[in-house]
């Protein structure tokens, strides 16, 4: 599969989740394991541009697909993606564990066209839990990044 634009040839047990493949076999530990059962959103990545839960997908099912993780967002010159910068600008996290999943999900939320209002953002981001409850700042960050991504 392609991960962040790079081709990886992996020999994996069929039981390996995409999440474990990314973290333990490719060494991309930005994607986080929270519940490992599809209830928290910490493991959110993009597959072929759509946000999905990497814990509920077997790696083998993603053969030939394009996976984007939080490590794939910054440009080659290390400048941050507008969503990453917006999370920093708006103090949209405390412990930071849910943040990579929040950022990936937020990018999906905007590209799906579901970030029109604060209510929409809250509804369409409900699959990403933040136990520090940084929710108001996460919504603010998404609004900022949405406008910047539209301008870009």
């Amino acid at each position: 599969m392609r991960i962040n634009g790079q081709v990886y040839n992996l020999g994996l047990d069929n039981r390996t989740s995409l999440l474990d493949a990314l973290r333990d076999h490719v060494g991309l530990t930005g994607t986080k394991k929270g519940c490992d059962h599809g209830q928290c959103g910490a493991c959110t990545v993009l597959i072929d541009g759509k946000r999905v839960l990497s814990c509920l997908s077997f790696a083998v099912m993603n053969e030939g697909r394009e996976v984007t993780t939080v490590e794939g967002l910054a440009s080659a010159d290390d400048s941050l993606h507008p969503m990453q910068q917006a999370f920093i600008d708006n103090d949209a996290f405390q412990c930071g564990y849910c943040t990579p999943g929040q950022i990936m999900s937020a990018i999906g939320c905007i590209s799906e066209g579901h970030a029109g209002s604060e209510d929409d953002i809250r509804e369409y981001m409900s699959g990403n839990l933040c136990r520090c409850a940084a929710y108001p700042n996460i919504v603010a960050a998404i609004l900022q990044a949405r406008d910047e991504m539209r301008r870009a």
């Binding site: 047990d13 069929n14 039981r15 989740s17 490992d36 059962h37 599809g38 959103g41 959110t44 759509k50 946000r51 999905v52 839960l53 814990c55 509920l56 997908s57 077997f58 083998v60 099912m61 053969e63 999900s105 999906g108 939320c109 799906e112 066209g113 579901h114 809250r122 509804e123 369409y124 981001m125 409900s126 699959g127 990403n128």
Partner: protein, 339 residues
């Protein structure tokens, strides 16, 4: 997790042939070979040891284009089985013709899960009964004949309609309530060819065999879901009441579509979620409304009829009044829709 062989057929006949050669006559839920599409339900249950297939047949590379299409013609919406929930929820024409369908999808799960889960897989999702999920408990659905820990256990989430002495596990799906209300029909393909099943006949009451959940054989795969609609199905909605406002299963929900002549009900379609063991059409409530002026009192009479046979247990008694109020509110809000 038990090791499994992974197969990736490229057309429906090949998928059916693969499954047929390994199906052993047991119910699909117990078979050693399983189809997988989104995987949001099955992968979770494989991790928990609830599902233990020896072979997975991945449907995502099937080449038939109709499996991924939504087609609207002649009063029918045809959803290909592999269409994802999120795509169907966002379709403007689905929203316009049948708001009920789009809402039942929009308020289900989370955006990530809706991007993954196929429509056919969604209707076949298995219960989240806590005792079904945890393999150290007895569960007649998971291990036939082992007993039911929910009967005297923490059964707050459990069903009050369609229960049996063997099982009170809730069917949690939302889309299925819209489908049963609108009299959908599923297209199925198996080793003996194709057939159609009325959605109302797809799921089976738990009875003495709660492990048998549907009318499908282990070699059969759903290829499409057909939903008839008419002018009046624009007046329809899905009301879902939960412990939190989003990303939770229904404690009670109501799928309602109304054919109105002014204030009077010509025909009503009602299904109830979160309260029953299977997708639940409330026909007695529908009959109570036909020919009546739909006001608060008529709605309450219909809701009483819907729950007349309810059998609550220790922790889920609240679902009867909650379910009734949910239906009353859904009926009044649907009546008041501007269409």
């Amino acid at each position: 997790m038990r090791p499994f062989v992974f197969e990736r057929p490229t057309n429906i006949s090949a998928a059916v042939a693969l499954v047929s050669s390994f199906a052993d006559g047991r119910a699909p839920t117990q078979a050693d070979v399983q189809f997988i599409a989104g995987g949001t339900n099955l992968a979770d249950y494989m991790k928990l040891g609830v599902a233990r297939p020896r072979r997975l047949v991945d449907l995502n590379d099937l080449s038939e284009p109709a499996l991924r299409q939504i087609r609207i013609s002649d009063g029918t919406i045809r959803f290909g089985a592999l269409v994802r929930m999120g795509e169907a929820a966002d379709r403007g024409d689905v929203k316009r013709h049948c708001p009920l369908l789009a809402e039942s999808l929009k308020f289900a799960a989370s955006a990530q899960i809706r991007n993954m889960a196929s429509l056919a897989g969604n209707v076949l999702q298995r219960t989240r009964c806590e005792y079904f999920r945890e393999t150290s408990w007895p569960c007649n659905k998971r291990v036939p004949g082992s007993g039911c820990a929910a009967m005297e256990g923490l059964n707050r989430q459990h069903a009050v309609l369609g229960t049996s002495d063997a099982c009170i596990a809730t069917y949690h799906g939302d889309f299925a309530q819209a489908l049963i209300a609108l009299d959908a029909v599923v297209d199925v393909e198996g080793r003996h060819g194709t057939r159609q099943i009325r959605f109302a006949k797809l799921h089976q009451l738990p009875g003495d065999t709660p492990d048998v959940e549907t009318d499908l054989a282990a070699d059969e795969v759903i290829t499409a879901i057909n939903v008839p609609f008419s002018e009046w199905s624009r007046r329809s909605r899905y009301l879902k009441i939960r412990d939190r406002e989003s990303y939770a299963f229904a404690l009670a929900s109501a799928a309602v579509a109304l054919d109105m002549d002014g204030d009077t009900v010509r025909q009503a379609r009602i299904a109830l979620g979160g309260v029953a063991t299977v997708p639940w059409r409330a026909r007695l409530a529908e009959e109570a409304l036909v020919g009546k002026r739909l006001d608060q009192s008529a709605a309450e009479t219909a809701a009483d009829a819907a729950f007349a046979e309810a059998k609550p247990r220790r922790h889920n008694e609240f679902k009867v009044p909650l379910g009734k109020r949910t239906l009353v509110r859904a009926l009044i809000e649907t009546r008041d829709m501007k269409v």
